[in-house]
């Protein structure tokens, strides 16, 4: 698996489509199957594929860990903040009816905002967990015997 040209090219084609599909799932969840949780996971899967193909360091430059940690909390803040907003507008906590001109519109807006918060938290939590796990593994795969001498030579820290 040293000549990864094919995988890199297909990854370049596939990753934008995965992210685009995640957005479709996020904002189409009120009409078809889907919603914030699913969209967040698909979004994270796109980033993880990027990290797998182009390396963890590249992914860290694209989606820096401080931003990931910020977004994990920010999604929860959006959700809880929607509840506070509906309280300020004179209703109960998380009662979205007051957010729009009519009750049905308000519910629609509220659900979209809340799902966005869920998606943000889920996506960044998954990437955060991936960051924590990746790069901590052993450098060898000798349990399966696939590391040959050639590979040992070109490993940077072998």
């Amino acid at each position: 698996m040293d000549h990864h040209f094919v995988i890199r090219v297909v990854g370049k084609l596939l990753i934008p489509l995965v992210l685009l599909f995640a957005l479709y799932v996020q904002f189409h969840g009120d009409y078809g199957p889907g919603g914030g949780f699913q969209a967040g996971v698909i979004f994270a899967a796109g980033f993880i594929l990027y990290g797998l193909i182009y390396g963890l360091d590249t992914l860290r430059r694209v989606f820096p860990p401080w931003l990931v940690r910020l977004l994990v909390a920010f999604g929860v803040l959006i959700y809880a903040g929607t509840g506070i907003a509906s309280m300020i507008l004179g209703s109960k906590y998380l009662d979205y009816s007051v957010l729009g001109p009519t009750a049905a519109k308000g519910q629609h807006y509220g659900i979209l905002i809340v799902e966005f918060g869920v998606g943000m938290t889920v996506a960044s939590a998954m990437v955060l967990i991936f960051y924590s796990f990746a790069g901590r593994g052993r450098q060898t795969g000798e349990d399966f015997g696939e590391i040959d001498s050639e590979d040992r030579r070109d490993r940077p820290d072998g």
Binding site: M1, H3, L14, G145, D148
Partner: protein
Amino acid sequence: MEIVNHILFYASWALLAAGGLLCVIGAFGLVRFPETYTRMHAAGVIDTGGALLILAGLMLQSGLTLETVKLALIMFFLLFTSPTAGYALARGTWSAGHRPITHTRSDARTDGHSDSAGMTDDG
């Protein structure tokens, strides 16, 4: 119009049946073939022949609707991902030191015709 509908119906029926048959053939090869490389070849029958024929049959069924677009997208993704996954898998298997069988089956009877000698993962 009636005739066109009939032709479409039988064409999609034939495509679906052929796709199902290719899936079974491929999976049968996946079980019966002696080592990883030949099994990869059998899996390719599912990934290309089976998938394409079944999706094409479904597309004929649904006509010009959003479903056809989605089926075309599924076909597009499968056409890119499964060969790439197969390629990566073959490279991984090769790097791990597995070598394809190059002798015939009658030779194989003398020295054990599977790749599994010393290569199993659950000893």
